[in-house]
């Protein structure tokens, strides 16, 4: 096993002894936080214990209990369907025109499950082990074990729904290995696994709509959380067609509203993905866990111009056969790559990391690409004065395997590349560049997936719990469906068993206050009469985040970013221009609210990154690396979840630390040697 134990790092950790704290002054230290819901005992018994201990709700009482679920991706649609089947009254909200469009639909690769159908040594424990290790020992072992445990049920459920997974000739399900894992545990439906899984969950949800247990609210955006007597009791939503500000109350609220990668403006996320639902909850008292953890993929199609609206991921499998290079001389950067002779090319990954070459881990490949572009040796179109792209060259592979060989292996990827760039990658080298793909941070939840606000549950990418500092391939889909189908329905019933709950009327002061705050934000934006468009602010924020809180973070950079964001935020509130009216579709108004929240989130992400002076998973602090440029963790200092508490506008947040304790797994330093 390519690990060295953490004992060997004791000497390196010594350099961290001392009183310094990079983030001092940016936050207030708070009391430690603890997950009180996970049962003690052997890790493989905890979920059974919790399910048994969770109280039951009599079927006749369920129809008197109501649930609001925000988001209809894998986590939200599966939860809505399952709770509807159980007999609760469910209201499901999404900002898209149909639940089927949630961004889970774009996931390509596959979904893991410890079925061990290949009899190649897989097991629940191995999936658990791989996931904790892959997350760089920054996730909770109880949660991850449960995820591995229920993974097998997910496949059964999806197959029964008619999800057309790949099959072998004998009719059994096919598996592949994915993301460098040594067992074949990934179930897939060509490159569209997320789509097929989501359609399955969406159909289950629509079935409940027909049955009358679930009511859907499409083109609705949650803009505020309603908290009554310390408990989440509803949301304020805007009907994005009529502009009506609606209050919806319920006995419990579930946020399944996805990730916030769009804080970077350019990302592989859908255009509408946003942080508002989570952020409004944060401002109402839900803690935000590890917000700085961002996964960046090294193989995306680069930006082609200042007009660019989003980035498209190319499968990482391309690195198996493509060679990555840039010109040695800046003067060659605008030449046709085919005219640059071999001796003038810098195969920089092969040069710097001879043993791994082009297959170095994601974070190293990503940082190396940024470095050569920052040096001025990037290729492709110049955007804002810099060329941000490196060649991924298949000419040697085409010579070796023939064009047909490449076509068979990568055909649809080559087609997709050509469609977007207009260049034929069989003829000229592809260009790639890293892009933001997924966030592992999110609202803090306990083992029951309940946030620090009672009655507010958070599932899927919107919570922080299962991926640690890095998300492995094929694990996000697994978490979304595990939470929605198999975890939340058990834990939420324990909460609902306290019912019936007191009715909350529209005239309740907490409801009125939430409504008014939404209304006043809208009024502000529409009456501001500023001079700059919302998108221009979003782009500027994204540039700051990408530059200073992206692939590599440093103390100086993060402090600078915080200053820049504060200035930008100030200017945004005074100078943003939103035209049109509230009582109609108004996409600028929608975006203004989201960007306002992204600004605040961006600042917190920088503070979180500043506090964590270690490198782990997708978080790379320049100050914490080995001589080889590998991420260097500091387990004795940072083996905690950073849970941030909001204390007021322009007030420093409070940091609560949850110590990560491993009883079933030994913490080890990752090594790529």
């Amino acid at each position: 096993m390519p690990d060295t134990t953490s004992a060997a790092d004791a000497s390196r950790n010594a350099e961290l002894d001392g009183e310094y704290d990079d983030a001092a002054g940016y936050y207030t230290p708070g009391e430690p936080i603890r997950d009180t819901k996970a049962p003690d005992g052997p890790v493989d018994q905890r979920w059974s214990t919790r399910k048994f201990e969770a109280r039951l709700v009599n079927p006749a009482n369920r129809r008197k209990l109501s649930v609001i679920i925000v988001g209809t991706g894998l986590a939200g649609a599966s939860a809505a369907a399952t709770l509807g089947e159980a007999g609760y009254r469910v209201k499901s909200f999404c900002y898209q025109d149909s639940p089927r469009r949630a961004h889970s639909i774009a996931a390509q690769g596959g979904i893991n499950a410890a079925k061990n159908y290949k009899e190649d040594g897989d097991s629940t424990h191995r999936l658990f082990y791989d996931t904790v290790k892959g997350g760089d020992y920054r996730s909770r072992e109880s949660n991850v074990y449960r995820l591995a445990e229920v993974s097998v049920n997910i496949i059964d459920q999806c197959v029964a729904q008619g999800v057309p997974f790949a099959r072998e000739y004998g009719g059994l399900l096919d598996n592949r290995s994915f993301g460098g894992v040594q067992v074949s545990r990934t179930f897939y439906a060509r490159g569209q696994t997320g789509q097929q899984l989501l359609i399955g969950a969406y159909q289950a949800l629509e079935r409940q709509v027909a049955a009358g247990t679930v009511e859907t609210f499409t083109r609705h955006e949650m803009l505020e959380l309603i908290v009554v007597d310390g408990k989440a009791r509803g949301i304020v939503a805007r009907d994005m067609v009529t502009g009506a500000i609606e209050t919806h109350t319920a006995d419990v609220v579930v946020l399944a509203s996805g990730g916030y990668g769009n804080v970077f403006y350019l990302s592989t996320n859908a255009m509408g993905c946003n942080v508002t639902a989570s952020w409004r909850a944060y401002r109402k008292g839900a803690y935000m866990g590890n917000p700085c953890y961002t996964q960046i993929h090294p193989t995306c199609i680069p930006v082609s111009g200042a007009h660019q609206s989003k980035l498209t991921l190319m499968s990482e499998s391309l690195r198996n056969d493509g060679r990555i290079w840039v010109p040695k001389n800046k003067a060659d950067c605008d030449k046709d790559p085919r005219d640059i002779p071999e001796e003038d090319r810098d195969y920089y990954l092969e040069r710097i990391y001879p043993s791994f070459g082009n297959l170095v881990p994601r974070d190293i490949a990503s940082r190396a690409a940024k470095n050569v572009c920052d040096e001025g040796r990037g290729v492709g179109p110049e955007v804002d004065g810099v060329r941000r792209g490196v060649y991924l060259d298949f000419s040697a592979a085409i010579e070796r395997m023939g064009r047909d060989g490449i076509q068979e292996k990568y055909d649809n990827l080559f087609d997709m590349y050509e469609r977007i760039t207009g260049e034929n990658p069989y003829e000229v080298p592809m260009r790639i560049y890293p892009a933001v793909h997924y966030v592992m941070g999110g609202l803090w939840v306990d083992y029951d997936l309940q946030s620090t606000i009672p009655g507010l549950f958070v599932t899927g990418e919107a919570n922080f719990s299962d991926h640690g500092a890095n998300r492995l391939g094929a694990s996000a889909l697994m978490q979304g469906l595990a939470d929605g189908y198999f975890v939340l329905p058990h834990t939420i019933r324990d909460y609902l068993a306290d019912g019936p709950f007191e009715h909350v009327g529209d005239d309740h002061p907490a409801v009125v206050e939430a409504r008014e705050s939404v209304q006043s934000r809208i009024d502000h934006f529409l009456g501001n009469n500023g001079t700059r468009s919302v998108d221009s602010y979003h782009r500027e924020l994204g540039n700051i985040m990408w530059e200073f809180c992206g692939m590599e973070r440093t103390e100086d950079g993060l402090k600078k970013a915080i200053d820049l964001i504060r200035t930008l935020k100030d200017d945004f509130w005074r100078n943003v221009k939103v035209l049109g009216e509230a009582e109609t579709i108004n996409q600028s108004l929608e975006k203004a609210g989201r960007v306002a929240d992204f600004m605040e989130l961006g600042e917190l992400m920088c503070i979180d990154a500043l506090n964590r002076r270690e490198s782990c998973g997708g978080h790379f602090r320049g100050e914490s690396q080995t001589e080889d440029g590998e991420a260097l963790r500091h387990d004795d200092q940072y083996a905690y979840v950073a849970a941030w508490e909001f204390t007021g506008d322009d007030q420093p947040p409070v940091l609560h630390k949850e110590d990560l304790v491993y009883t079933a797994i030994e913490m080890k330093q990752r090594s790529y040697k």
Binding site: Q96, R101, Q192
Partner: protein
């Protein structure tokens, strides 16, 4: 590139709409069609004109949220989604006409946005397999021949964008409905509800105001996921079978 854009503008569902003409310079051929509209919108905001409302989300051809009639073609001249259509498919100096999806069952909400919730109601009427969470048998307990699984997958790739409806002179949703009926009908898990599914979905289809299918084939020609026309034959066959069974 320099373009002249003729764009349908309509303030709301009940407002009267009209074509408006905009000139746009400096269009790069690397822009997607929607990014070209983003650029136009930034220019409109600069001169205090309300930006044009249009739908999009994933912008990588899979969510099905985008969809425009471009020069009379659903999603424009290429077989792809509007978000994956790039300006290199057009030429300098061209006039481009941009309209919302055209179908009675897809009323216009504003400018280029339409209401496609009829598709959700079609799925709710029967486009699923009834299996409650937690009650599923072990996945390997039911074998599915590889070719059946592949066929099911190929038609399950429908993204629900509505191009088939917009392209159809009758405004029929038969391709969308046929794709779902074929997807679930190809699999052993879909058999118990097969008759009910087709009967209920066809009834809902007609109730929503979609037109009848007269085998014109514009739907499959416009489909960005190339759903084949024979799913409609399958739909008709399943309907006949259900009727024979007394539905």
């Amino acid at each position: 590139m320099k373009l002249t854009l003729k764009i349908w503008r309509q303030a709301g569902p009940d407002a009267e709409g009209a074509m408006h003409t905009y000139d746009l310079d400096d269009v790069s051929e690397d822009m997607s069609f929607l990014e070209m509209l983003d650029v136009l919108n930034e220019k409109l905001i600069e001169r205090d004109e309300e930006p044009i409302a249009f739908d999009s989300d994933c912008r990588e051809g899979i969510c099905g949220m985008c969809g425009l009639m471009i020069n009379g073609d659903a999603h424009g001249p290429e077989v792809t989604t509007t978000c994956q259509l790039h300006m290199r498919s057009f030429s300098d100096g061209e006039t481009i006409t941009i309209e919302p999806w055209r179908a009675d069952a897809f009323p216009v909400l504003k400018d280029l946005c339409v209401d496609r919730s009829a598709f959700d109601r079609l799925i709710a009427s029967g486009g699923y397999i009834s299996v409650n969470t937690g009650s599923a048998p072990e996945a390997h307990s039911v074998l599915v021949p590889r070719d059946d699984a592949l066929r099911a997958f190929n038609v399950a790739t429908c993204i629900g964008c509505g191009a088939c409806v917009a392209a159809c002179p009758n405004g029929s949703a038969s391709l969308f409905m046929g794709a779902k009926i074929t997807h679930l009908g190809e699999l052993p898990q879909g058999q118990p509800e097969r008759d009910n599914r087709v009967v209920n979905m066809v009834a809902q289809h007609d109730h929503e105001g979609f037109g009848g299918c007269t085998n014109i084939g514009q739907c499959t020609a416009a489909c960005p996921k190339e759903i084949p026309l024979d799913v409609i034959s399958q739909l008709n066959k399943d309907l006949r079978t259900a009727m024979r069974h007394g539905h």
